[in-house]
Symmetry: C2
Subunit: 146 residues, 2 copies
Amino acid sequence: MTATSPQPPTKAQLLELVAALGTAQWQDFAAAAARQGLTSVQAKLLAQLKGPVPMRGLATLLVCDASNVTGIVDRLEARGLVRREPDPADRRVKNVVATDEGHETIRRVRAEMQATHTALDALDEEERTTLYGLLERLRPGMERRG
Amino acid sequence: MTATSPQPPTKAQLLELVAALGTAQWQDFAAAAARQGLTSVQAKLLAQLKGPVPMRGLATLLVCDASNVTGIVDRLEARGLVRREPDPADRRVKNVVATDEGHETIRRVRAEMQATHTALDALDEEERTTLYGLLERLRPGMERRG
DNA sequence: CGTTGATGCTTGAGATCGTCAAGCAACTGG
DNA sequence: CCAGTTGCTTGACGATCTCAAGCATCAACG
């Protein structure tokens, strides 16, 4: 059935496959987060904190209401994984920063996404380069509405 | 910057890109579902119903507790999008079936995932074939734990 | 047949997630 | 100084999710 040039997949098939892998990866992430005692959303927020980010910025990144971020940060802060710092330029703003323990925790989550790591290990360097290129081509259409 | 053979991406870069696209696609799906008055989870459940599926099977497909499925199906049933039918072979089992309106609703959700459709339209047939092949190579590592 | 154990589903309690409306503090532009 | 905007929090409420408990049914065994 498979020669050097198989039948091109329909858009529906491709869409289904992309959805399936997206779901699988998300659940891998959620499971890894749970092992660190975090919900998926908490881990996702923590993953954004390479530097200080204002509450409003987090709401934008997570595509949710700002009032929702308040609660998530509350719980992370209660566990010592993030800190709220005043913004020197605007006293309304609170910048969220990951603590050392926060950074270490999200590093562990990423390291423990076994299913994803295993899957990526199945590709050689050339295939990864090709895949990366194709996915980058998809990105422009995906980010910021459709 | 880009020659015919760019530097191979690190696994971390590839992982980040996969995660970003997975997130974008999920939010595209959630937005399309919301336009039909559904939450993402309700739409996701509805998307599984090509035929009758027992409650327990849905819990397995959605990777969640069976008691959770009860509530989601309750709400879908109250809106006439699914039905619970007795299983002729096992009176404990209730099979969930999408109604005509349920099928039509999930069809509309899929059709309205504009960002995803637009993104896929950016690829030509050969690229889609290549991408499909690579994603299929990833699947074995992703499904069923890692 | 009857008992024992496993399985399918629901219920209730409790936590998190998510939105909206309202409120206060602080910035911005006249 | 004043009006409008913006950033964050609070409270109310619904949806999602897990766990423990309960009921009905099935399967297996004596």
